[in-house]
Subunit: 431 residues, 2 copies
């Protein structure tokens, strides 16, 4: 009997053996994170009460390629490589000469790209002897990915979930609890910071910034516990590079590379994961690929925010991070793309936007849901509201190519499916 690969043997080789770290290729990296008290650049020792040792090594590394631990690669092989789909249905529906591809991360266990870094973080934490990871979640995709990863590697997971999403998305909570995670509505009465808000208003809708503060507070109080973050940080974007590395390898099978790469941005990890391996080529003098980072008009950190030092949370407990920000106390409107409701932006994405390599775009909720419905009918996959931001931009690019009669190649990230977001579709019109 042969040893069976998980998928057809001709596909498995696309799963990379190492993460790509774009910091090795940036002529000038972003300014370092600062200690919130001293305002001095953070050292590994400063980070150590917050993150696992393995994670800090990833965060601080300047190596170009960092091997994916064998245990993580085995867990990723349960769903990777994810499909690179040629959007024949969408192409027909738009009547465009453009060739549209999407990298479908919704094929992952929790239905989004978040598992890519969750598996790494849970593995590194157990390897370092930790017993608990504490985190926050907005729409619930990150929280459920970490809950799943924690169950796989045997580490306890505690999640503070933004109250508005906790109430809108009971399914996400069920997923987390199914994997043994402990889930609290945020702001909660369980933390010092949460109580200050909870006691004034037990129905406070919450925000990612507030939930981060609560998670951090609990992580720092515990023994053998650390905090876990699902986006923004350099290490997280590096873990997500598996998306772009696979896409690059899959497109190479066709002998092509994209003219335009598109992703939605909340904290920036899905976009960075897809785009950075292609940006590497451009930085090395390769093709002049365009990179579009698409955010909601309701939370426009890249298009309207300032580039400066700011805290990552609402309480001012995190280090100061040099990034595009709407301000740590910005509370975005309760749009359904909960994963994009964050006041800041990954320093690496902020940097590349400031350099003009990444082009930010903001789109309206109506444009997003119209695009999502068109895509679903044409392609048969229901996008998560977050991912639908990238769909909207891809459609606009494809229609522009039609106007110009150009046979360009568009690659976008479909970061998750929307089966747990049907209430968002019900609330945003029918046809």
């Amino acid at each position: 009997m042969p040893a069976f690969p998980r998928f057809a043997p001709q596909e498995a080789h696309h799963l990379p053996e190492a993460f790509y770290n774009i910091k090795a290729d940036l002529p000038e990296p972003p300014p370092p994170a600062l200690h919130p008290g001293t305002r001095q650049p953070l050292t590994a020792a400063d980070w150590s009460p917050v993150f696992s040792r393995g994670f800090i090594e990833h965060e601080m590394s300047r190596e170009r390629f960092i091997p994916i631990p064998e245990e993580v690669r085995k867990a990723m092989a349960l769903y990777r490589p994810t499909p690179l789909v040629y959007a024949s249905g969408l192409r027909d529906a738009l009547g465009t000469p453009a060739h549209i591809f999407y990298k479908y991360e919704g094929a992952g266990p929790m239905g989004s790209h978040k598992s890519n870094t969750a598996l790494v973080q849970a593995y590194l934490a157990t390897r370092d002897g930790l017993t608990t990871l504490v985190t926050e979640t907005g729409a619930g995709q990150w929280g459920s990915a970490l809950a799943h990863a924690g169950a796989l590697f045997g580490i306890k997971v505690k999640v503070f979930m933004v109250r508005v999403s906790y109430r809108q998305k009971p399914g996400r909570r069920t997923l987390m609890e199914m994997f043994g995670a402990e889930v609290d509505e945020s702001p909660s009465p369980k933390t010092r910071f949460g109580r200050t808000l909870y006691e004034k208003d037990p129905d406070h809708p919450g925000s990612l910034g507030i939930a981060i503060s609560e998670a951090l507070e609990v992580a720092l109080k515990g023994t053998n516990s650390r905090y876990s973050l699902g986006s923004v940080l350099d290490a997280v974007l590096m873990h997500q590079s598996v998306i772009g590395l696979e896409a690059e390898s899959q497109m190479a099978d066709y002998g092509i590379s994209p003219d335009t790469v598109i992703g939605c941005v909340g904290g920036g990890s899905n976009f960075g994961g897809l785009a950075f391996p292609f940006i590497r080529r451009r930085l090395a003098g390769g093709p002049a690929t365009r990179f579009l980072a698409v955010e909601p008009e309701a939370c426009p950190s890249l298009t309207k925010g300032e580039l400066r030092y700011d805290h990552g949370d609402a309480a001012g407990m995190t280090p100061l991070i040099f990034m595009h920000t709407l301000g740590m106390d910005f509370v975005p409107a309760p749009i359904h793309a909960g994963g994009l409701r964050y006041h800041g932006m990954a320093p690496l994405v902020s940097r590349l936007a400031a350099q003009g390599i990444v082009e930010p775009q903001a789109v309206s909720t109506k444009t997003v849901f119209d695009a999502a419905r068109l895509f679903y009918k044409a392609e048969g996959i229901l996008p998560a509201p977050e991912s639908a931001h990238a769909v909207a931009a891809a459609i606009a690019e494809a229609l522009e190519a039609k106007r110009l009669g150009r046979e360009k190649i568009i690659l976008f990230g479909l970061s998750g499916h929307g089966f747990l977001d049907l209430n968002a579709y019900a609330a945003n019109g029918k046809n």
Copy 2:
């Protein structure tokens, strides 16, 4: 620029060019359906007010292979071939020497196998000049698949949805309405038969049999409208044969064939679709493969029902069908596997069970959800409660192989994902 295939070129050839019709290979086919009035075998003319002409041809054909219409094949190519996954995670979790494969139909647009026949039925109806299809749905997978297919081919779809599911699963209704379908709770006040029940109890939970009666009544009343059924009938099982034909071709790439084939059964189409191409080999004197049809203990038509003529609906409007049945007025407990709550069973599956080729099994709800949670953790795919019946049987087979130290090959059908059934998981325990 090359012409891009939908998926990697080495995969596309698995999508078959013709449906497989097992009636061509049965030494003795099941007794024919009878007219409910005259009790004479039904002719094509008898069927014509009910179904489209093209569908009746499929239903009555004895040809072994019937070409898949080009338009349907193009629509199927949006999601087919579906993955044949080697369950490495489940194998490790069970510590079994068995090799477990599953054919994952949840990759389809509505998350289940139902699109396979929905696309054919919508296409045939429009080809025959019809303007409306009326149907019923239990859990909503069939209704949403037909709504999607109707939107693709441009035909109006009306759906009667069993009230208990209509209220439990608002997401399914959103999906149907997103594609322009008209959805009513059943029993409804819109039909003569529905009114007899609705007027006594506006909260009557409904059943598939009742909803079929309502859909049939509306289809017969309309001009240019016909009825559409998502399971049970010979033609539907034939459309679903794409599942088994693909699996056969995909396994041939490894040079293997299954020792045991497992599917869940409600009306029988998912099971028949997977199993019949393999049963063909056994009927032709090939390997003595085992075929397990798994049903819920709460609706045990194969294991406890009688093999006799019965109506397919609750009002006695349908033809008399020779099948395993619990009686047309049987109302199953409101288990969450709504797609398996049907009093009857496909005549072809009933026949093969009576001949001893198909082995029926009934499993408890607890066994099913325990299996689903184990599978989700090991494999990263959340099964629909219906599909989890097959998962439970596959796990039992794999553990039996472990006890015997046998390296057997198990193939089961994972007919759909469970992301729209999280309330069922929430209601059926945690770990």
